[in-house]
């Protein structure tokens, strides 16, 4: 069990700053997920917590104790690597018991702990095999088992499911969620799969370019993204971001000038002055029924999935818009269609959000 506190944590690699001052509080027993695009520094942040990289600036506290210089072996942290990193010359049982054997734990006790973890992960019949004789999913479970046996206070996972096929991902995801409930340990999980993030997390941390964009519960981020980047990142398919012109901002309300959107008045959010802005509309909130606020374009793609239909249209300004309609909808390509939406379902962001 452990709390974790990062204050202004920075990391640079030979002058290039990769983590640019991260502040983060992680409560005891929390499941925290780091998400963000490739190269945003998720793994680096995780490795800083693990003690595999040296922190260049700021402070890392584990259970109230400044731990910047504590070697990783003394941090009470276990990590599951994306590549599993099993010791190829040791059997499954030896892999799982390695940490205990280093601590000079009696053999009988090691065997018991290993067997216990193996039972949880359904690995009992594989204990004598070498990692090379296992399937990808089994290796993954051994890697998790190795972490469990240590009884760490914090578990770190770096994209643990990315090498598995879709069915196995879902199964292992469920197992990890169950593990979190059973062990009640603090877990930090890196992924760029936003389904994993939404389903597993108590708290999601959205990173971009080494900077935390927003921290919050999954549905909080879904409903109230603080900027266009988070809005586009959380939710699938991604939120549409329409380029719009704001004509006036009054009493926290913004008025738009756009064919079809003349009557739209929305909460201005962080938009304070007339000019360019981004209007976020979730694909699932669009309907083909006529309404007061509309966007029109030509159909470029129709994907009929059965329970839902995805339609993509090209707008007059050349950008595209995605709609997810319930049920099976027949729609001809190249036709002109209009989608409407309710003014309560949209959010306005400054155009500067998507710059840089």
């Amino acid at each position: 069990m452990a709390r974790l506190k990062l204050s202004g944590v920075k990391k640079d690699f030979g002058g290039v700053e990769v983590i640019k001052g991260v502040d983060l509080d992680i409560e005891d027993g929390e499941f925290v997920v780091f998400v963000g695009p490739s190269g945003c520094g998720k793994s680096t942040l995780l490795r800083l917590i693990a003690g595999l990289e040296e922190i260049s600036g700021g402070q890392l506290e584990i259970d109230g104790r400044v731990s910047n210089d504590v070697p990783s072996r003394d941090r009470g942290i276990a990590m599951v690597f994306q590549s599993y990193a099993l010791y190829p010359h040791l059997t499954v049982a030896e892999n799982m018991g390695f940490s205990l054997s280093l601590r000079k734990t009696p053999k009988a006790e090691i065997d018991r702990s290993v067997l216990q973890a193996a039972t949880i992960l359904k690995l009992e019949h594989l204990l004598d095999r070498k990692p090379s004789q296992l399937s990808g999913g089994q290796r993954q479970r051994v890697a998790i088992g190795r972490a469990i046996v240590r009884e760490p206070s914090i578990f770190l996972f770096d994209e643990p499911l990315s090498n598995l096929d879709a069915a196995l991902r879902m199964e292992t995801r469920t197992e990890i969620a169950k593990l979190h409930r059973d062990l009640a340990a603090t877990m930090i999980y890196v992924t760029h799969d936003q389904v994993e993030a939404m389903t597993l997390a108590d708290k999601i941390v959205v990173l971009k370019g080494g900077v935390v964009q927003q921290v919050g519960a999954p549905m909080e981020l879904y409903r109230n993204p603080c900027n266009a980047f988070v809005a586009g990142f959380i939710g699938s398919p991604r939120m549409n971001l329409l380029k719009v012109d704001v004509t006036s901002v009054e009493d926290g309300k913004a008025r738009l000038a756009q064919p079809g959107l003349e009557h739209l008045v929305v909460p201005a959010g962080r938009v304070t002055a007339p000019g360019k802005a981004l209007l976020g509309v979730r694909p699932q909130t669009l309907t083909l029924n006529p309404g007061q606020h509309q966007v029109s374009g030509t159909v470029t793609l129709v994907e009929r999935m059965g329970p839902e239909t995805v339609i993509s249209i090209r707008l007059a300004d050349g950008s595209s818009l995605l709609a997810v309609l319930p049920g099976d909808v027949e729609q001809a390509l190249d036709a002109n269609v209009s989608f409407s939406f309710a003014d309560t379902d949209v959010r306005l962001f400054p155009a500067s959000d998507l710059e840089n």
């Binding site: 693990a50 595999l52 276990a78 690597f81 990193a85 280093l102 601590r103 190795r146």
Partner: protein, 277 residues
């Protein structure tokens, strides 16, 4: 076509046979001669059928006890040199594989460059120093010298092997609670075993047979077997070839057996890194 193939195959077989004779003849000659009665050793034409005798071995045992002491010295020096070279090469190879900086790169280059200088040039000036330190005629100084000659090659070889061990294994082990020496001992060394064997074979073969440096740096206490054999040739009573061949046979066998046992790993070791992208 067929005839050509047969010709090529015959050529290949002949070449292999020639090579075999070329490399095996001295060995076979030495071993058989050690069991021949003295007169028959240089008989022309050579006698392939003879009654084996152990006379030479008995004489060796009785008159050249110093040879067996030399063997003991050779064994100590060889094992010492191999252990030293393996440990130093593994540690250095690990550092060159896992860390990088301008200085490390430069030092690796200089390691290889220094290897090109004839060892004797570097070593001879050491003689007075070794003498003053009281290290002359000790097993220690020979072990250190022999190990030193192979540390540069060994380091480069071990680096190739360590390069093939994913860094995450070190990291996983360190999170599991291992210190650096434990990581080296429990993870790196077992996984780089073929490389370690390759380094050991090089050092063992060299150290076991080395003459010049042993001649310079030892006199009695640490005198190695090859020195005793050379004394047999210079002995005042004239050369007893049978005894000489018996000593050579004993000198030859351990390395021969060792290399044959390690052959499998040696090939794996020397070709490592050749195929992996």
């Amino acid at each position: 076509m067929r005839a050509e193939r047969i010709l090529v195959n015959a050529g290949k077989t002949l070449a292999v046979l020639l090579l075999l004779v070329w490399s095996l003849f001295p060995i076979v000659f030495i071993i058989t001669s050690s069991f021949k009665p003295g007169r028959e050793i240089f008989a022309v034409p050579p006698q392939w059928l003879f009654e084996p005798t152990f006379d030479h071995y008995i004489t060796l045992w009785q008159r050249w006890a110093v040879f067996f002491h030399g063997l003991l010295n050779s064994t100590i020096v060889t094992i010492g040199a191999a252990a030293l070279a393996v440990v130093a090469s593994t540690c250095a190879g690990y550092v060159y594989s896992r860390y990088s900086s301008r200085w490390l790169g430069a030092s690796l280059l200089s390691l290889i460059a220094i290897r090109l200088i004839p060892p004797i040039v570097v070593t001879l000036p050491l003689f007075p120093i070794v003498n003053n330190l009281g290290l002359a005629d000790t097993h220690f100084i020979l072990s250190v010298l022999y190990a030193t000659f192979f540390v540069s090659l060994g380091t480069v070889l071990m680096r190739t092997f360590v390069d093939q061990i994913p860094r995450e294994l070190d990291e996983a082990a360190s999170m599991d609670g291992a210190t650096l020496p434990v990581i080296l001992w429990r993870i790196i060394m077992p996984l780089a075993a073929p490389g370690i064997i390759a380094v050991a074979v090089f050092v063992v073969v060299f150290a076991w047979n080395e003459f010049l440096f042993a001649f310079i740096f030892t006199s009695t206490k640490a005198k190695t077997a090859p020195l005793v054999i050379s004394e047999m040739i210079g002995s005042i009573e004239g050369v007893d070839w049978g005894v000489l061949f018996a000593a050579s046979t004993i000198q030859l066998l351990p390395v021969l057996i060792f290399v044959m046992l390690m052959n499998r790993y040696l090939v794996a070791g020397l070709t490592a890194g050749a195929t992996k992208g």
